[in-house]
Amino acid sequence: MDATIQTTITVNGAAVTRTVPARQHLIDFLRETLGLTGSHVGCEHGVCGACTIRVDGEIVRGCLMLAVQAHGRRVDTIEGMSDSGELAELQRSFHEHNALQCGFCTPGMLLAAHDLVRTKPQATRAEIREYMAGNYCRCTGYHAIVDAVEEVLALRGGKP
């Protein structure tokens, strides 16, 4: 029972061990301790989705997970998923549709979109809107984001 805990997390494929304050959430750990500033903080109450990252293959709100809770688990961020190429189709489609403006929501939005493509490969436009409804964007009004995701689903022919 400690206020700081030695924690080992696999981040973007590399194991990282740090002594972490129990109260530090996973996004602050990634940003402040590891310098991975691609994941963003927008509210810290789990509503805006800017902090969406992937833990053990599932998307989560990084601000609602303590870093110590990620001990022994695999965390993937926008940086790792960009370098691995997993997001390439979505990134290209987002770029071509201008499905981002200021870019602050974009890492979280891409993580959520990637999860949709994986789990709902035949999503209709309405289902895309519903799936992405947990990620706030103030700039785009969502239409271009829906277009971009729809295009990737079509290119993949409805396959996960």
Binding site: M1, A3, E58, V60, R61, L64, M65, Q69, A133
Partner: protein
């Protein structure tokens, strides 16, 4: 907003969890943390220690056991949403799950956490009441069971004593003859319900038997609308029957006003949903 400082412990057994909870004044249980961590980030509470129970064995899993469907307390909302056993044996839960926040929250939040938190606008408490589920409580003294309909006492207040944990929820298997409907009105998809109803009944020759109507967002706890249920019991949901059901709701429900709606508005919406739910059950 950064959370205040606290210690963290992750027991590896129920016994260890009980010891930690008993030993520490001001300990809080951490399961999914989707409510607790938001609360801590806003400094609305300042516990001395978080006891992370996600490492305790035996609190997860979805399985049919005899005449019940048992869902472990640590089961994530998303697992319930995608479970074939739930789809078959408790379709009400499958219908309610997509209304819980968003996928990223459902991947982490647990049913035990939701029931222990007891927000009257949450989906699982009302579903448990509608399905007459039993909450399996783990305590140092042993296991005990509390009927869901007796579990929710007041706003954020349950029958759990300090140091107790929810181990599982057991839902009676109703059989294929039963139908369920889950209707919710929220300002935006995934928001807490303004009002909602978990409805179950067994249609028989157009009439509805064993009608259950449990409302969320209609009081300080989920509310089993007994007067409304009696008005619908054994009858076809004709316009006259629905009108009687809707009248009865005035006695069943004491909604609390909030920024979205005054009590009278919520009562009106509850009436609208009751009519729609009954029609859906009978369709």
């Amino acid at each position: 907003m950064k959370a205040p400082s606290f210690a963290y412990a992750k027991p590896r057994s129920l016994e260890e969890a009980f010891v930690l909870l008993r030993r520490t004044e001001d300990a809080k249980v951490l399961a999914g943390g989707q409510t607790l961590l938001a609360t801590l980030n806003m400094r609305l509470s300042s516990p001395a220690v978080l006891v992370d129970i996600t490492g305790v064995p035996g609190l997860d899993g979805i399985a049919v056991r005899g005449s019940v469907l048992r869902i472990g307390a640590l089961t994530r909302h998303r697992e319930i949403e995608r479970s074939p056993e739930v789809a078959e044996h408790a379709p009400l839960l499958a219908a309610a799950a997509p209304h819980i926040a968003h996928v990223a929250i459902r991947n982490v939040g647990t049913i035990g956490g939701s029931l222990a938190h007891a927000d009257p606008a949450a989906e699982w408490p009302a579903c448990c009441v509608a399905l007459d589920a039993e909450i399996v409580v783990a305590a140092r003294a042993g296991e005990r069971r509390v009927r869901a309909r007796e579990f929710f006492k007041d706003l954020f207040d349950t029958a759990l004593a300090p140091g107790e944990l929810i181990a599982a929820v057991e839902f009676p298997l109703l059989g294929a003859a039963y139908r369920s409907a889950f209707l919710e009105l929220a300002r935006r998809h995934g928001d807490y319900a303004m009002i909602g109803v978990a409805a179950v009944a067994k249609p028989a020759a157009g009439a509805l038997a064993d009608v259950r109507l449990a409302f969320l967002g209609a009081g300080t706890t989920p509310v089993l609308a007994c007067g409304a249920m009696a008005a619908a019991e054994g009858k076809k949901p004709s316009p006259e029957v629905i009108a009687a059901v809707q009248r009865a709701l005035a006695q069943d429900l004491a909604p609390i006003g909030d920024l979205n709606a005054a009590p009278a508005t919520k009562l009106h919406l509850a009436r609208v949903l009751s009519g729609r739910a009954l029609a859906q059950l009978a369709a």
